[in-house]
């Protein structure tokens, strides 16, 4: 029996979405203040308008239900799922008025890409973009990487919600006993990493000859982009622009940090260092990245691009780490990616994105935890085939404590993995239907669904509108790991199907 939405539910959903929008309008003060600081008056007007529009919409929606009771699960699902799309809509308003997008829809795509920490950009003439507009892009990427709902929970915006909202945003583990403490811990860790990363990159950029103020902002933006595995850049050449191997090393560290489970970080923070070595997710991720690097070396050696040691180390390894952590920063030009890499290397990068980072981190993809669990499940199954039927096989794994691998856990991992793979395939078929090559279409589909952001050149401003809509859906689904969104769609369909019609149908079938 599907949960239906009633008028009462819609009012509660409207109330909480409104609360999120009010918070979002406060976030929009960041670029507004930056624009005033830099004297970007024309830009500041756009953000005044954006703040006003978001605040008005949010405040109006809040009035739908003055004092909601304990949130029900179906309401939490709807709020979490819709939060991303609704916030992206209002976020796009000041950007769409900048003149840097071919259409308002492209600005919406950019906002969705920022909030889902995907990182594919529809911006034109990015090198002439204002400091405030860049600040907004990266603010969105920070909020999105943390999770829009997580931010709201940590600020106590949502009260009386229990685990409902937290779990529906694709997070399964509670880092600390209370949800509020968990979200505040995530917030504190992220803020700390951003501050330290910004200082380190600021120093690197100053030594490169970049002006102090630009060094600060570029350091801040790259740190946010790397740690939140978002991958946005403020210059058209992305990280190639900086010509700095120290920067690339720091970015790789930040990307790896961003791809680590927050719950594991909390354990390490409390002194349990050994957990890092025995954790199934860390082991899977480390093994996976090592194997991918070795395979990439072999694949590149088959061609004549990046066959020298220094180029391989610098650009090859960076690309695999960026793809595996679903960040999307690139040290290869689009031409090099699509026409100089061997098809094997190109495919390996796609597979790296498909698997992704850790669950409960800022990374996307199927997640290393599920891959590790599925592998252990396969090993257990092979054992059961070899051993007598009466033999009892117990498989355990370490992940924030010791767990027994049960049928439920394994089937849950398999279902999500299957949903990811299905979406990758369906998305690639859509790309092929639009006339793109099979390998680039698959690459792009995997990139958007896993929120990685590396591009084969399909998701560009001139791409067909319908394809962009499909990619937005894929980014949305990937960010929420499907079940929340599928549950919402099912409930929506159930809600609009008249009860009487369903009852009559059932009566006819029964004869």
């Amino acid at each position: 029996m599907w949960a239906r939405f009633y008028k009462q539910d819609l009012r509660v959903i409207a109330h909480y979405l409104g609360s999120l929008l009010v918070l979002f309008s406060v976030a929009m003060l960041v670029p507004l203040l930056v624009s005033l600081l830099f004297g970007e008056w024309a830009v500041s007007v756009r953000y005044v308008f954006g703040v006003g529009m978001t605040l008005t919409a949010g405040s109006a929606l809040r009035l739908a239900k003055i004092s909601p009771a304990q949130m029900e699960r179906k309401q939490a699902i709807a709020i979490t799922a819709l939060a991303w799309m609704v916030c992206a809509f209002f976020a796009a308003v000041p950007l769409s008025l900048s003149g840097h997008f071919q259409s308002p829809f492209d600005a919406y795509f950019e906002s969705v890409s920022a909030l889902t920490a995907t990182g594919i950009s529809m911006l034109g003439d990015i090198d002439h973009l204002s400091v405030a507009d860049n600040m907004w892009r990266f603010t969105m990427q920070f909020l999105g990487g943390q999770g829009v709902v997580v931010v709201a929970l940590s600020l106590g915006i949502f009260t009386r919600t229990g685990n409902s909202l937290y779990n529906t945003e694709g997070r399964e583990e509670s880092v600390l006993p209370s949800i509020k403490k968990t979200t505040q811990f995530i917030w504190r860790v992220s803020s700390g990493v951003v501050i330290i990363g910004t200082i380190v990159l600021f120093i690197i950029f100053m030594f490169s000859g970049i002006e102090p103020l630009r060094s600060f902002f570029h350091g801040l933006w790259i740190t946010i982009g790397a740690y939140n595995t978002g991958g946005f850049a403020s210059q058209s050449l992305s990280l190639i622009y900086y010509h700095s191997w120290p920067l690339e090393v720091i970015v790789m560290v930040l990307m790896c940090l961003g791809a680590i489970n927050f719950a594991l970080m909390a354990r390490i923070h409390h002194g349990n260092w050994r957990e890092m070595l025995s954790d199934i997710e860390i082991r899977t991720l480390a093994t996976w990245i090592t194997v991918m690097v070795l395979l990439l070396v072999a694949a590149l050696m088959a061609g004549d691009f990046l066959t020298d040691f220094s180029g391989l180390m610098r650009r090859g390894i960076f690309t695999i780490v960026s793809a595996s952590t679903n960040t999307g920063y690139d040290l290869l030009s689009p031409n090099q990616t699509t026409s100089m890499l061997t098809s094997g290397a190109f495919f390996l990068i796609a597979i790296s994105m498909a698997v992704g980072g850790s669950a409960g981190s800022t990374a996307g993809g199927i997640k290393a935890l599920r891959v590790g669990i599925i592998f252990k499940g396969i090993v257990a199954r092979v054992k059961s085939v070899l051993l007598p039927p009466s033999a009892q096989i117990t498989t355990t794994y370490n992940h924030i404590g010791k767990h027994t691998l049960t049928g439920d856990i394994l089937s849950s991992a398999l279902i999500i993995a299957a949903l990811y793979v299905t979406t990758y395939l369906l998305g690639s078929l859509v790309g092929i239907a639009f006339g793109y090559g099979a390998l680039p279409a698959t690459f792009e589909s995997i990139s958007v669904t896993s929120n990685a952001g590396l591009s084969s050149g399909i998701a560009v401003p001139g791409a067909p509108l319908l394809l962009k809509i499909i990619y937005i859906l894929q980014m949305w689904m990937g960010r929420l790991e499907f079940l929340t969104l599928l549950a919402l769609f099912a409930s929506l369909i159930a809600s609009i199907t008249p009860r009487a019609r369903v009852k009559a149908f059932v009566r006819r079938r029964r004869g």
Partner: protein, 161 residues
């Protein structure tokens, strides 16, 4: 006579005309293997920052028609740049003659151009953006309305306690 001709040749500055661009940045960013290690001449706007290279030269980013490329040039050539492109600023437009590398062997596989000569086509110039007063008024109005609605919610919420 020959001496007079020689003196004139020495004294009159030679009028250097621009070389005809052989390619564009857009074509270079989509270049095939045949273009590797070839001399190219192209034009574009300098944007962003002048980044110091380890060998004392300067990395410059140039753009044209939505495409961008890295150019490595001598400090004295970089000194010709009077402004780099950013918000409300068009950067110096240069004509660059250099060797194009699809995958530069000295720069770890980077796609770049090593400039051999640089000429200024046009100096940088400011771009002015105008403030949209109607948008400002609408924005301020919405902020006031939003604030009032928030206040209204607060009153209703307090009454229900």
């Amino acid at each position: 006579m020959h001496a007079i001709m020689l003196a004139l040749f020495m004294l009159v500055p030679i009028n250097l005309t621009f070389a005809e661009p052989t390619t564009s940045i857009t074509m270079l960013t989509g270049a095939a293997q045949q273009s590797d290690n070839q001399q190219v001449v192209f034009r574009g706007e300098v944007v962003g920052d002048l980044i110091s290279s380890a060998d004392g030269r300067v990395w410059v980013t140039m753009i044209d028609s939505g495409s961008a490329i890295s150019v490595l040039m001598k400090p004295e050539d970089a000194a010709l740049i009077d402004a780099t492109g950013r918000y409300e600023q068009t950067g110096t437009k240069l004509e660059v003659t250099g060797i194009f590398h699809l995958s530069c062997p000295t720069d770890d596989g980077l796609s770049d151009v090593h400039a051999t000569s640089v000429t200024v086509v046009a100096p940088g110039e400011p771009r002015k953006s105008s403030v949209n007063m109607m948008l400002l008024v609408a924005g301020l109005l919405l902020v006031v309305i939003g604030g009032l609605l928030a206040f209204l919610y607060h009153i209703f919420h307090e009454r229900m306690r």
